[in-house]
């Protein structure tokens, strides 16, 4: 079915500004396939069910809304972590700023190299997981990304990676429009951690497709901040094999518009997937709009999924959570958990939550909860009565509120890094 005429107009305006990159025959096929998916869907509109709370206009427009560069003397996230650094500046790989890509247990290539080869493992991943993730909910921005992505990395873990792979996205041009696409394959029993940080561009589209084979493990920690004016639409598509592990945590601080989608599918029994996020939004100087849209499909028995999302909002900030657990008939003994909570620090901020469960198996354990609340005045007074001033007391309660999401970060060093950063940002705010 073709998209309505008005959507076609928006789409053709956008596509006129882009051109399909070159590659091997299979890669061109993948891009063509994505383009026809996109043409059939059209770009997202406010009437689409999953775009009710987030306005896609600036993500659709052919021209980029200018985003001022954010200047800070803070060190970057993960600075103290021993890692393999891969740097992109406004969406373009920077070989000089990046580390040598060779590493034990992992093959890392630039996406264009992978897509240029006639025979490459990426063929089974690039655009494949994204295409699967288009049903039952359409994700046109991801299809657009597959068709037009200009850069990215292909990561194949064959053993236990000795250190995390750190993708660093620098923003240098006020009008950059970056489209990055990464493909990750974790082979049987292999293990890798991918870190992401940085604003990337004025407008950033990113897709990461992650295939985890049986008994493989993929860990992901991302820090999106603190650029006020950036806009980002990101997608993660994961397909998980038997007894595999997938853990993803995202911290979002500031940003005029951030839409993070996660689409996770269990295809083998006894898999584990944890998807978590902490957002800290201040709508004061610029708007803050942060949207987590998550879809977990249980298509195999005995799998465990957890979604833990916490948002702290003030000064008219807007937080959105749309999370779904779909349990197919054969996915018996599914253990599904979903939590979305917001802490509103004033009356101007808004949290929109749409938790969904759709269950077709009869022996499952699924729970979901969503709450919105203010700072606990009793707790605040208790802290102040012990001498802790209002600002730090509020920060303490904010950190306590976020704790359950932060606990989801795998590894003490990474968890401490995120926590320290968070504390620093809170100190600056109240200082």
């Amino acid at each position: 079915m073709a998209a309505p005429a008005v959507k076609q107009d928006v789409l053709s305006a956008r596509l006129d500004a882009l051109s399909l990159p070159d590659g091997a025959a299979w890669a061109r096929e993948a891009r063509d396939g994505a383009l026809s998916r996109l043409t059939a869907m059209g770009l997202p509109g406010k009437r689409d069910e999953y775009w009710k709370y987030t306005d896609p206009t600036t993500l659709n427009q052919p021209e980029v809304t200018r985003a001022a560069l954010f200047k800070t003397d803070e060190s970057m996230p993960f600075s103290d972590i021993d890692r393999l650094k891969i740097v992109f500046v406004d969406g373009v790989f920077d070989a000089e700023a990046s580390d040598d890509l060779s590493m034990e247990g992992v093959e890392v290539e630039r996406l264009s190299d992978a897509l240029g080869r006639d025979i490459h493992w990426a063929r089974d991943v690039y655009g494949v997981l994204e295409a699967r993730g288009q049903t039952p909910v359409e994700r046109p921005l991801a299809a657009l990304n597959t068709a037009y992505a200009t850069d990215g990395v292909a990561i194949r873990a064959t053993g236990k990676a000795t250190k995390p792979i750190s993708l660093i996205y620098l923003h240098r041009s006020e009008t950059s429009d970056a489209i990055l696409h990464h493909v990750v394959k974790v082979e049987e029993g292999a293990e890798v951690t991918v870190l992401e940080n940085g604003p990337a561009a004025a407008r950033f589209s990113k897709v990461m497709e992650v295939e985890v084979a049986d008994s493989g493990a993929f860990h992901h920690v991302r820090a999106q901040g603190r650029d006020h004016e950036r806009r980002a639409a990101t997608h993660m598509f994961a397909r998980l094999g038997r007894e595999s592990v997938y853990k993803s945590f995202s911290l979002t601080v500031n940003g005029v518009l951030t839409r993070n989608e996660q689409v996770v599918e269990f295809t083998g029994e006894s898999g584990v997937a944890h998807v978590a996020g902490a957002a800290l939004g201040d709508g004061d100087k610029n708007a803050f709009h942060q949207d987590d849209t998550v879809f977990v499909t249980h298509d195999a028995p005995d799998c465990e999924s957890r979604q833990v999302f916490k948002k702290v909002l003030r000064n008219g900030a807007v937080g959105v959570f749309q999370g779904k657990i779909l349990v197919k008939p054969d996915a018996q003994r599914t253990d599904g958990y979903q939590l979305s909570q917001s802490l509103l620090l004033d009356d101007d901020s808004i949290f929109q939550a749409k938790p969904e469960l759709e269950i077709y198996a009869d022996d499952v354990q699924c729970s979901h909860g969503s709450t919105t609340g203010a700072i606990d005045e009793e707790a605040l007074f208790y802290l102040r009565s012990r001498g802790v001033p209002e600002g730090p007391a509020t920060d303490l309660l904010v950190l306590a509120f976020l704790a359950e999401a932060i606990e989801e970060i795998e590894g003490d060093a990474l968890r401490d890094d995120i926590l320290t950063r968070l504390q620093g940002w809170l100190d600056r705010h109240s200082g």
Binding site: D376, E377, E378, A379, F381, Y382, L383, R384, S385, R386, G387, V388, P389, E390, P392, A393, L396, L397, L399, A400, F401, A403, E404
Partner: protein, 251 residues
Amino acid sequence: MLEIKNLNVSLEEEDKAILKGVNLTVEAGKVHAIMGPNGSGKSTLSYVLSGRGGYVVTEGEALLNGENLLDMDPEERAAAGVFLAFQYPVEIPGVGNMTFLRTAVNAQRKARGEEEISATDFLKEIRARAKDLKIDADMLKRPVNVGFSGGEKKRNEILQMAMLEPKMCILDETDSGLDVDAMKLVAEGVNALRSPDRGFLVITHYQRLLNHIKPDVVHIMSDGRIIKTGGPDLALEVEENGYADIVAEVA
């Protein structure tokens, strides 16, 4: 130490007077007890002194060593030396008891222009103090008051008091919800803190706590006023005859 002069307080939400001219002076080194029937304004007095919201002071003042407490934020009062042991200590999920106490100790030190306590010194001191109150390491690590029994919560209040070393300690119904053994333990903790430069205001409904924390002065509060002041015997009289006789006698 603490001088309360003609204190009149109403509720913020509704125009209802709770305290109607309280006069009270607690000298350094002394323990004053306030007893009274339910609804007499005892707990309100403790909240107003510690700076809880929801009340309006319509008249009068409360001075701590000459400084007007009522002008200060709750944290400033704490730094000045006021400590309220809550009747219902608040549970704070996600904030570790130890982190909370260290943050509080250092915030007060900072406010007074003193140096922060080192992590090792803090640990040494809190371990010693906790041991006296039979508070184990696990309770120190757990989130503030979460999952604590009634007795554990009250002991935790006394631990905070011991660590913060306030000048003026206000205990609001510290005996409520405690069995005899727990009450003894809490009273021992309080007695250990008695010193010539520290004042105590012990608010209680029953006399039994005063068997363990011996007061120098006993006040009876009714309908927002202190209606009678006497020695420790006054508490025994209440125990014997109830409040009705005293209230009737004054009226």
